[in-house]
């Protein structure tokens, strides 16, 4: 009897941990469509996700598409995460990340946006690449211009 109680307890703990509705989840291995533009995600460096209050996760192929969903009622109170461009398995909380806009980035949606962990990281990388004279800027998530 005591054994089964322990198993039950363990079960509840496992379920409880499994349902923890916080933090980003990894990109699924199977084909996943962007919730905004429906493009299949093939370049995870630009990917993003939002986790809603109910724990539902929507994936995006780009920061541009994630930005298009910010403020939509379906994801109200949800948290957005952006893939770290230089360290792709890592997700950055959108509001902590720095978004570089530079055409040389060739992002899936064409505005040239990608997320970095810090402004310094973005600038160092850009310096290393050389901008080729093209304009660039670094923005915070909240200041990203709305979709055109």
């Amino acid at each position: 009897m005591r054994g089964s109680t322990a198993v039950l307890l363990l079960g509840w703990i496992t379920i409880g941990l499994g349902c923890r509705s916080e933090g980003p989840i990894p990109l699924p291995a199977e084909r996943v469509e962007c919730a905004q533009c429906r493009m299949v995600i093939t370049d995870p460096r630009f990917a993003a996700q939002v986790r809603t209050l109910k724990g539902r996760v929507l994936f995006f192929d780009s920061v541009e598409c994630a930005r298009a969903w910010a403020g939509r009622p379906e994801v109200q109170g949800g948290r957005f995460y952006l893939r770290s461009f230089l360290d792709p398995p890592r997700w950055l909380a959108a509001e902590d990340s720095w978004i570089l806009e530079w055409q040389g980035l060739r992002s899936p949606m064409g505005r040239g946006w990608a997320a970095f962990a810090s402004e310094q990281e973005a600038m160092q990388w850009l310096e290393q690449m050389g901008t080729g004279g093209e304009k660039f800027r670094v923005m915070r998530w909240a200041a990203l211009p709305p979709p055109t």
Binding site: V40, T42, P44, R106
Partner: protein, 395 residues
């Protein structure tokens, strides 16, 4: 008087490397490259014709085989393989930058990152190339023929397989994509975004991971193409995302999970297409408005139409042929006297509860469909073909 010279490159020739010959060439000259494997990175900076005669340019995954940065350059008859893979710089086997009038013809591309990459280019012809990618892991494959911020291109008679997207046009306008074949590419056979006023004629797309996707573009002509065998989740024969005032005519759709999916796409004309043996022929999302379907053939699809909206619709059906139509034609005008509602109740159920697919075509579903036909309650009232064709037109 212009003296146009021909410079020959081979192991024992005065020019042993392609670059040496190019550096010596005057504008208008021809450089002929004889058989052999050339391990170099070729930069073309003046108007020349570069002709391969059994020549292979091998990038050995470390170099960019050809970069073109001059007008009126042509590259033909080469095998170009193993270009450098640099995720950050979109490296390619042949990259054409800010120029006019290039011709890339009858080359063979093998195991490159991007194969042909046109960037801010006008009036180029890409014709008769065989482009074979070797599929690699996520993010490690690039597109076969890629154009960016270009116009007035002609992409014709190429075969592309094994790349991420077979052909990808971004910010590319007034171009013609004719008679190409894109198969077994990882993502899309053809993909274009923000590209207005293009025409796609007589291309064949089959067995690409997610089919063909055309997005955010206006006034596109898609005619006489074939879209087949695109199967699985998030896979469409043709995905139309925010496409407006475009024409889909005389295309053939076979064996796709969903043949055409309209999302945010408006005022398109869909006429005389053949939809055969697809899971779902046409999926219309609520944001798809004022699309007209006329003279199309729907035969042997599991479902012909589906929408995620049960409200009023502005999409119109007129004079299409449905193999499932059971009406009659007493006045013998060739059109059925009874309307046809191509939306079945089971398709609506299926869209809401994918697992219900287990019951598709079961007696239970037939009963549901029959009751919906008798007392329509779920399908949008206007999405009815009042007078469907009695006889299948020849396709």
């Amino acid at each position: 008087m212009l003296w146009l010279a021909t410079l020959v490159v081979c192991a024992g020739c005065p020019y042993a490397t392609i670059q040496q010959a190019l550096d010596a060439a005057e504008p208008g000259d021809t450089v002929r490259v004889q058989a052999g494997v050339y391990r170099e990175s070729v930069r073309i900076s003046r108007e020349v014709r570069l002709v391969g005669e059994g020549a292979v340019i091998d990038g050995e995954f470390a170099r960019d085989p050809i970069v073109i940065a001059a007008d009126q350059v042509s590259v033909e008859g080469f095998e170009i393989r193993r270009s450098r893979r640099d995720l950050l710089r979109d490296t390619a086997a042949v990259r054409v930058v800010r120029s006019h009038g290039c011709r890339i013809e009858n080359n063979r591309f093998v195991d490159n990152f991007f194969a042909i990459y046109l960037e801010e280019v006008t009036g180029c012809v890409v014709r008769g190339n065989m482009v074979e990618g070797v599929p690699r892991g996520e993010g490690m494959s690039a597109n076969g023929i890629h154009t960016w911020s270009s116009s007035r291109l002609r992409i014709e008679g190429n075969q592309v397989r094994g790349h991420r997207d077979g052909i990808y046009l971004e910010f590319t306008s007034q171009s013609e994509i004719i008679g190409n074949e894109a198969t077994e590419n990882i993502r899309y056979g053809l993909h274009f975004m923000y590209s207005d006023d293009n025409r796609f004629l007589r291309n064949r797309f089959f067995s690409n991971g997610a089919g063909v996707a055309v997005m955010y573009s206006n006034r596109v002509g898609i005619e006489d193409n074939e879209f087949s065998r695109h199967q699985g989740r998030a896979s469409y024969g043709l995905l139309l995302k925010e496409i407006s005032r475009s024409v889909l005519r005389r295309n053939r759709f076979f064996d796709n999970s969903t043949a055409v999916h309209f999302d945010g796409s408006q005022r398109n004309q869909v006429a005389h297409n053949l939809f055969r043996a697809n899971g779902l022929a046409v999926s219309l999302w609520a944001s798809a408005e004022e699309n007209r379907f006329e003279g199309n053939i729907f035969e042997a699809n599991l479902f012909d139409f589906h929408t995620n909206s049960s409200g009023p619709t502005t999409n119109r059906l007129q004079g299409n042929y449905f193999s499932g139509y059971l009406g009659y034609d007493l006045d013998r005008d060739g059109f059925g006297d009874l309307p046809y509602r191509p939306f079945s109740y089971s398709a609506v159920l299926l869209a809401r509860y994918p697992l219900a697919g287990l019951l598709a075509k079961s007696a239970f579903f037939e009963l549901l469909d029959l009751s919906e036909r008798l007392l329509p309650s779920l399908v949008p009232a206007q999405l009815v073909d009042e007078h469907p064709l009695m006889h299948r037109p020849t396709s």
